[in-house]
Symmetry: C4
Subunit: 289 residues, 4 copies
Amino acid sequence: MADNSIPTDGRNQAGDSELQRKVFAVVFQSRTPAGKYFDILLIIAIVASVVALMLASIESIWARYAQPLYLAEWAFTILFTIEYVVRLWCVREPRVYAGSFYGVVDLLAVLPTYLALFVTGSAYLMVIRILRILRLFRVLKLARYVSAADALVEAMVQSWRKILVFLYVILTIVVIFGSAMYLIEGPENGFTSIPRGVYWGIVTLTTVGFGDITPQTPLGQAVAAVVMVLGYGIIAVPTGIYAAELRDVMTRRRQAQICPECGRTGHDEDAKFCKFCGARFAPAEKGSG
Amino acid sequence: MADNSIPTDGRNQAGDSELQRKVFAVVFQSRTPAGKYFDILLIIAIVASVVALMLASIESIWARYAQPLYLAEWAFTILFTIEYVVRLWCVREPRVYAGSFYGVVDLLAVLPTYLALFVTGSAYLMVIRILRILRLFRVLKLARYVSAADALVEAMVQSWRKILVFLYVILTIVVIFGSAMYLIEGPENGFTSIPRGVYWGIVTLTTVGFGDITPQTPLGQAVAAVVMVLGYGIIAVPTGIYAAELRDVMTRRRQAQICPECGRTGHDEDAKFCKFCGARFAPAEKGSG
Amino acid sequence: MADNSIPTDGRNQAGDSELQRKVFAVVFQSRTPAGKYFDILLIIAIVASVVALMLASIESIWARYAQPLYLAEWAFTILFTIEYVVRLWCVREPRVYAGSFYGVVDLLAVLPTYLALFVTGSAYLMVIRILRILRLFRVLKLARYVSAADALVEAMVQSWRKILVFLYVILTIVVIFGSAMYLIEGPENGFTSIPRGVYWGIVTLTTVGFGDITPQTPLGQAVAAVVMVLGYGIIAVPTGIYAAELRDVMTRRRQAQICPECGRTGHDEDAKFCKFCGARFAPAEKGSG
Amino acid sequence: MADNSIPTDGRNQAGDSELQRKVFAVVFQSRTPAGKYFDILLIIAIVASVVALMLASIESIWARYAQPLYLAEWAFTILFTIEYVVRLWCVREPRVYAGSFYGVVDLLAVLPTYLALFVTGSAYLMVIRILRILRLFRVLKLARYVSAADALVEAMVQSWRKILVFLYVILTIVVIFGSAMYLIEGPENGFTSIPRGVYWGIVTLTTVGFGDITPQTPLGQAVAAVVMVLGYGIIAVPTGIYAAELRDVMTRRRQAQICPECGRTGHDEDAKFCKFCGARFAPAEKGSG
């Protein structure tokens, strides 16, 4: 469906030579068996390299296995570098690929390791390398999960304006209540400043409730109760928005009745006439499910 | 749609002179380019002044930057004072504006700073000044977010009676369980009084779970488990109410088109023909934000 | 709608004498002005007595205001006793009233205060007196909130079987994961027994997260992550169940199209024929909203 | 509906002899009174044995009641062993039963107790015995809860692909934010490694919020606020997915009736006539649990 015949998100078509086209089919597409094996290997390599990075950040593991983890990191880096070069080589317009989202992610997956040879402060570079996990999205995009993800994203796109309004209301609530709590509880109870009060407000309204800052005075606890009930109650709003939009998207997709006259879709399941040109539908073409 | 031609929430029309009308279009409306620039500048000023207030409440920042923050606060106050005076001057009935919700918010945005010259106890005044954030609502109201917010509010208005019933049930649960926990756990485990037990009940039922008060006895933990599962289960109720009402509102907005021939509704917003009898709709009758 | 002409939940009709009928209209019904004033006074008295009970449980307040609170409690008790006796007197069958839910609640609202004269261990009696809050339900039942609450309850009744299945699944998850955590973390990390592990499982799965018991080992944290994501994901299930049922109930109530032939309701909005007797509906009688 | 006439999930039909068939009807089915009594006894035995196991894990209870609990465990084991042997004997193909899900669960319910005679490390065996709770599912499956559970499971099966996409997005968010927090907060504030950061991310995104690791720096708290609002907002996604699918399943079940005249669906379960053309439905074709 969303296969690479169309150059979605900056990915472009294969180069002109026969070899370029063959390699392109393997590294960018997943229709051929070779393309599928490549995808699976890539998924394994990405997951393994992310796990290795995570393990390397644990001090006790690093103390014992520094060398194998260091070697593994270099092995993955060289592997991903070769892959990056091959990708650059086999596409028709390397610049378009290099400038695309996945082109940048692919580069960020290898660059930090080379930089670490010259620069200190490797902790920052380590975290950038973690972004490799984003590369999985491309591989998964080729799979059958596309249409499922598409519906989710479409519903999100349709509801983003409503959700933005909701977020602004949340922000206002949190700023006002956070300031009030700063006044009521004061620095002696952990509310040392308004931003800290706002942080507490977010922790409380989202029902996370770390408990690192908690109200101690009766009035503060009463205000906190209001914030909690508010957060518990309005969690319904984004859910309601999203559920309503998602159902809409799903319904519309299922109602892909095509008019025999004008070829347009978007008709309801119970429609007898095309709502665009007035043509009568054949009554037998129906079928729900 | 919700533009200021209609004096919504107490705002009224421009004064009689040409200058008043021109200024009114800038400060109250956003149809003209000047009006749009004014809105953007106002948003920046409001956000900047709220951020400055927040920073001023952090002790370490205040210790170092007391003077610039003090000056910034006065600059914003003078700016907002001028804006308030201009607003008062350009409307036809200044009293109606001054008494409206936004008129009061506008006044509260500047008054505390002047009061702080005469009165001590500036912490209270600081928090009142934070209410400036509410002024953003007016600016945002002029934008395209109105209709999105409208649907959300309409669904909320329609479901408020159900939500009130729900809140009363919540309150009853929390009072009864909070009292029971006071009895079971007692002051030695942090449940020093019934109101504190009720506070714990709200913290638990809303799934916030600060952990500042936690049951220690087996029986208390069993009762707590009931409260938690209850809270986890009935979070469905406001969500269900709101989702159902919101979908209703959205459906009704889409179904506002009535067929002139067969009188039936249920057509999409983009329908040109009745889907039941094939009659053509008048194309001009549309219009939705 | 749910007025007292029908003796719902054990409440019965007024006695035979004129006075009994008049008093009945005041204390049991809210159609007359006197009945409405009585309801409002009763709400105030109930709320005030519950607040007084709560305040009395706070040690510092009791130390200072023991006497007025003690007197208030007796005043409320005598008031509610008179009310109880009047209710018993004015109904036709006092036994039915005394045995009904509200009859028992009314008695429990006054009995503990008298018992406290003879028995010690007043903490238990205090909590029983808190049940007075349940009396509010009767008063609110007479108000316009009935139909709103009715829809909520009807949806809950329709979904209770599904929710029971869900609760059993939750219980199974919690028992298995709680036992596993007892094994993995052990008593040294707070998981001193399987019931305590199950308690932790409930705290975690319901996303309450007190933090009184937290996993310390990497494996325990990994298992905890599974429980958390599970709890975060399946919160959708009761919400989905309830939302779907509630929408059903609301739709059915709105679709109260009545067949002119057989007089039955429950037809869809787009129905042209009665689904029970096959009679054709008049096409103009429609109207959504 | 889901009765044992069809060998669902590996269960097979009764053996040939009359006795086998009679015993089969009791232990595997619940249509006969004897079968129902057996089910109820089994539920009691399973629940009692799980409760006994839980109690045995509490040190203070074990210290006092080791002997009765030990005896009870053996009593339950012998009971379940007899039941297991009877089940093996009365089915036509014992191997199919032994290899089925419930066959394995039945074996795991008794094996650990015998193993504990020879092997040490009984804690592991104890937790395996807890899996007995899964046996309740079989008994409940025979009850009227089947169709309710069926709809829930069907909706879950239909939405699992969407939920998988959602889980992968969650994982990516959590890995990236967890790594960022490791960088920002560092080991001195509890974020000792990336996996620990990811664990914190899951605790926060799912709104559990234990509070065992909390951000201390202002930047860390700002990032935490983003994670919390994200988690609070996207809890809508699985709920929306599930609610939409569940409503679909429920609608489809209601719409399974097809009009013999006009071929259209969308009739309620209680419809006797087609609501579109008025044709009478055959009354016998119904049937739903």
